[in-house]
């Protein structure tokens, strides 16, 4: 090795170092089939990519309803204290942005990986994935097991997740992100009931997508194009 070749090594290393290290994980939108008309309640959430105007009202509404307008940041996501966020996904040629949140999977990895049984599926409430904070010990296994990175925690403490505003759903209201959307881009309801508005919108949509069906988690957050 002569001197010129030896000098190339640090320069090449420097150039390699300029490439961003933590490149954003690219999620792909996958077309989905919606199975409806079964017995029992099955809640689902719908987000319309064509109706959304990206104003962020869902984020602010979640922050106001669940976190009492707390303006300190959520350090896990680099986002306000809210359970819904904007992520970049790969769909077709161009990447684009979608609002996403906890998918309330039918096969939730966070529930299967919880050592204390704090994360559970509420069968009476249409299968919402909830957390019993009396049992949670803050081990954060759920955060690392979730493929959607839907849970977040600020430093030491118990993880927080989207509950589809269970306190409002119990009262018969819609979740905050659905109720406070100014253009009706979101919808929430029982997809086993064919007369519900969400089932109608899913039936009439041009295209329905879910995130990461290859993980076999059976997500219930549908992205539609109307």
């Amino acid at each position: 090795m002569n001197r010129r070749e030896f000098l190339k090594i640090p320069i090449a290393a420097a150039l390699l170092g300029l490439v961003p290290i933590g490149e954003a994980k690219q999620i792909k939108l996958q077309p989905a089939e919606v199975k409806t008309g079964r017995s029992g309640r099955k809640f689902a959430l719908l987000w319309s990519a064509t109706k959304c105007i990206f104003c962020g009202a869902c984020v602010a509404a979640c922050n106001a309803v669940n976190y009492n307008r707390d303006k300190t940041p959520n350090l896990t996501w680099g986002w306000p204290q809210a359970n819904t966020r904007l992520v970049e996904v790969k769909h077709g040629e161009a990447p684009r942005y979608i609002f996403t949140q906890c998918q309330h999977c039918e096969e939730p990895p966070c529930v299967y990986n919880c050592p204390t049984g704090a994360s559970y599926i509420d069968k009476e409430l249409g299968g919402l994935v909830l957390v019993d904070y009396n049992l949670c010990v803050g081990c954060k296994y759920c955060i690392s097991s979730c493929p959607y990175e839907a849970r977040w925690v600020n430093g030491e403490g118990t993880p927080s997740k989207c509950t589809w505003c269970v306190q409002r759903v119990k009262e018969g209201k819609l979740p905050a992100c659905v109720a406070f959307c100014p253009v009706g881009a979101r919808d929430f309801g029982d997809i086993n009931d064919p007369d519900s508005s969400i089932a109608k919108r899913l039936r009439e949509a041009k295209a329905v997508y879910v995130l990461m069906p290859e993980k076999n988690t059976k997500p219930r957050f549908y992205i539609v194009e109307e």
Partner: protein
């Protein structure tokens, strides 16, 4: 957490019911609004247009397919502007009104960028201004200036629960509503097409990349400024090169000295 944490909504909320079928577009509300805000001198200007919101005009009356539509801040419950304001100039008050404290505003424009209805407007002093629901008048027990000035009774003022009840009654009679349990400025209308035109015009689609940057700001404020990786790596490489060449130079000189000794 959300299961255990009770949240107190503002309890003394007031709202305004806008009946679009009664509005005749006379513009008395715009005049009253400007009189209350001390900007009525603008009414004499040739450039003044009652259909445009500006830093001094906080209420405008627009026409869509022949339907006059009063348009101002909706005072929505979500209040995205209050969440993204970096200096807490934008606040949600007890009356349900979302107001800008003009003395605190730094004119960064985040509120105008995220607002669902595009109402905050920049004034000549670079600060953002919008309707404040006349909270000083509400505190005294009188309705906002626009409601008081309305000659046709298209605008109605009252506690927000009462407003929502009236709107639901109208809905039961077959008319459409917008803003029930969503805003403090509720529309009741029967011409659906005209209202959709209005909503498409005011609630415009935004650039998601910009919105993501705006929502990421709390972290930037909480942590130290980001370190430039290029700077650190460049400095490391430069130091290594300088050290290498210095060492090489010293070796050459050493060898020369050794050669001269021999």
């Amino acid at each position: 957490m959300s299961e255990t944490k009770p949240v107190a909504w503002p309890r003394r909320d007031y709202g305004v019911l806008v009946d679009l079928d009664k509005c005749n577009g006379c513009g008395k509300c715009v005049e009253a609004c400007k009189l209350r805000n001390g900007t009525s001198y603008e009414l004499r200007y040739k450039t003044f247009s009652p259909t445009e919101l500006t830093g001094t005009t906080w209420l405008s009356v627009r026409k869509y397919s022949g339907v006059s539509t009063p348009y101002r801040c909706f005072h929505c419950y979500s209040a995205v502007c209050a969440l993204v304001c970096p200096v807490n100039a934008h606040i949600v008050t007890d009356y349900g009104a979302v107001i800008i404290q003009t003395d605190k505003c730094i004119g960064c424009g985040r509120c105008a960028e995220v607002c669902c209805y595009g109402t905050p407007r920049q004034g000549f002093d670079r600060r953002y201004k919008k309707c404040d629901l006349c909270i000083d008048r509400i505190a005294k027990g009188s309705p906002p200036a626009c409601v008081e000035a309305c000659p046709t009774g298209a605008l109605k003022f009252g506690p927000v629960a009462e407003i929502y009840r009236q709107a639901k009654e109208e809905e039961a009679r077959g008319r459409k509503t917008y803003g029930v349990e969503l805003t403090h400025w509720v529309y009741v209308y029967s011409n659906e097409e005209a209202f959709r035109e209005f909503l498409d015009d005011v609630a415009r689609r935004k650039d998601p990349e910009k919105i993501r940057k705006i929502f990421s700001f709390p972290v930037e404020r909480a942590t130290y400024p980001p370190v430039s990786y290029l700077g650190i790596e460049g400095a490391a490489v430069a130091t290594a090169l300088i050290a290498f060449f210095g060492w090489r130079q010293s070796r050459i000189e050493e060898k020369k000295r050794a050669g001269s000794h021999e």
